[in-house]
């Protein structure tokens, strides 16, 4: 079987960093996705058109390349804007790039979710005199969330796997830890397979978690089938 020669704890420490990157990117990515969906549905063309263009651009570029672009060009751009030297670490760079990718795809998912909310409910809320912001928070968002969850679940699994790319920036998550252990012990097969099994476990465990979230989001709802 796999001989991890004392590096098992290192891999687990890496797994914690992987989860940190994944959860941070999920949080920012969902926020970006909702904002992006709202922008794409905006009646104002100067908001709608750039938002649509930007998400299409992000989705046309490999995640790995986008990660490199963010990591290598953002410090220059920020330094130029702020007038002082700015450096970003691999964690910040990785989370930023993965959030942007997640947000670009999630904006499509949420856009579908918002569009699926029946018009009558919005009209009813307006008839009650709810202000627009409250209609968004109380009617639009919880319903869109329900429709969007299956799509978000898929995006989350992709995100979990994409966190491995951040190892290229030197962040000590699962992959980087496996690289180090493989070099020290000369047993690359064992460590990369161990890393693969950890990712697989995370992906498989996400299934029930999202099933629970979907049940929760759909509670009180009559089912057709």
């Amino acid at each position: 079987m796999l001989d991890l020669s004392g590096f098992g704890w290192q891999l687990l420490a890496g797994a914690a960093v992987t989860l940190e990157v994944a959860f941070l990117s999920l949080a920012f990515g969902v926020a970006l996705g909702i904002a992006g969906a709202a922008a794409k549905l905006s009646p104002l063309a100067w908001i709608r058109v750039p938002a649509t263009l930007l998400t299409n651009l992000v989705r046309g570029v490999p995640e790995f390349l986008l990660l490199l672009i963010v990591y290598f060009s953002l410090p220059d751009i920020l330094s130029g804007l702020l007038g002082t030297d700015v450096s970003i670490g691999p964690l910040a760079g990785g989370v930023l790039a993965l959030s942007v990718v997640f947000g670009a795809y999630a904006s499509e998912t949420f856009r579908g979710g918002f569009a699926a909310v029946p018009k009558g409910q919005i009209e009813a809320a307006r008839a009650f005199g709810m202000p627009r912001a409250r209609i968004f928070v109380r009617i639009h968002l919880p319903q869109a969330w329900r429709y969007a969850l299956p799509g978000i679940s898929n995006l989350w699994q992709t995100l979990l796997k994409d966190t491995s790319l951040v190892s290229v920036l030197g962040l000590e998550e699962i992959m980087r830890k496996a690289d180090i252990a493989a070099q020290v012990t000369k047993r690359p097969f064992d460590f990369y397979v161990a890393a693969a099994l950890i990712y697989l476990a995370f992906v498989l465990l996400s299934g029930p978690a999202f099933a629970w979230a979907e049940r929760r989001a759909n509670r009180g709802l009559a089912r057709a089938a």
Partner: protein
């Protein structure tokens, strides 16, 4: 616009490098898509089989490859397998010591796992009546599969396949992690040499053009296939 000038400058000065990088990217995409699709059909049929000896391994294969990062898969094949003496003394060693075949193997197996699901969905979506009609005119199962079910499943799955090919294009960018100089590799090399991201922007622009070209190509193919049908 000093920024765009810089990017245009990088593109024109390094044109031959980007052209050869584009060649490698397209080679990786074309070969892995062809092999992946060829494997996807038996995988889909095995997953749909009522025989557990076929369906269980095919399902496990789909979960293993879709549940782990592509980066790990490439590293297991390129860096991991040489750990064993058996591999290094075997007949396939000349292939496995070279990064290009390793990347092609990883990309193809990965593509097969994803498109296997797409083809399976396509087969399930073929109306039962067409299957029955095929057997009513006396086709045996193999013939019905070849003449009716698979062509119909292919047409139904075509939009989803188009997405998979775009995703596969983006997946090939990982080739640069095993020292291959594909589009991303050219951008990375320039970034390391000049400490600027301009080469990466050029690579990004080429990927976007390729993405749109693939999407457009598939739409044309769909229109062509539908044109051959009588309404």
């Amino acid at each position: 616009m000093a920024f765009l000038d810089g990017v245009a400058d990088a593109a024109s000065r390094q044109f031959p490098a980007f052209l050869s990088g584009l060649g490698i990217t397209i080679e990786l995409l074309a070969v892995s898509t062809a092999v992946g699709l060829a494997l996807a059909v038996p995988i889909a049929l095995a997953r749909l089989s009522t025989n557990p000896l076929l369906s269980v391994p095919a399902t496990a294969y789909a979960y293993l490859f879709r549940g782990t990062p592509l980066l790990v898969q490439i590293f297991i094949i390129y860096y991991g397998l040489p750990q064993f003496d058996v591999v290094r003394t075997s007949a396939v060693w000349p292939l496995l010591r070279d990064p290009l075949p390793c990347a092609l193997i990883a990309f193809s197996l990965n593509m097969a796992a994803y498109t296997g699901e797409v083809v399976r969905g396509g087969i399930l979506a073929v109306p039962a009546g067409e299957r029955e009609a095929a057997s009513a005119v006396g086709m045996n199962r193999a013939l019905a599969l070849r003449r009716v079910i698979l062509p119909r499943a292919f047409r139904i799955a075509l939009p989803a396949l188009s997405n998979e090919v775009v995703l596969q294009l983006k997946a090939t960018s990982l080739a640069s992690t095993v020292t291959l100089i594909d589009l991303t590799g050219v951008g990375r090399r320039l970034a390391a040499k000049t400490y600027t991201a301009e080469g990466l922007y050029v690579a990004g622009a080429v990927y976007i053009v390729l993405t749109f070209a693939i999407a457009r190509g598939f739409r044309l193919l769909e229109a062509r296939l539908d044109g051959a049908r009588t309404r």
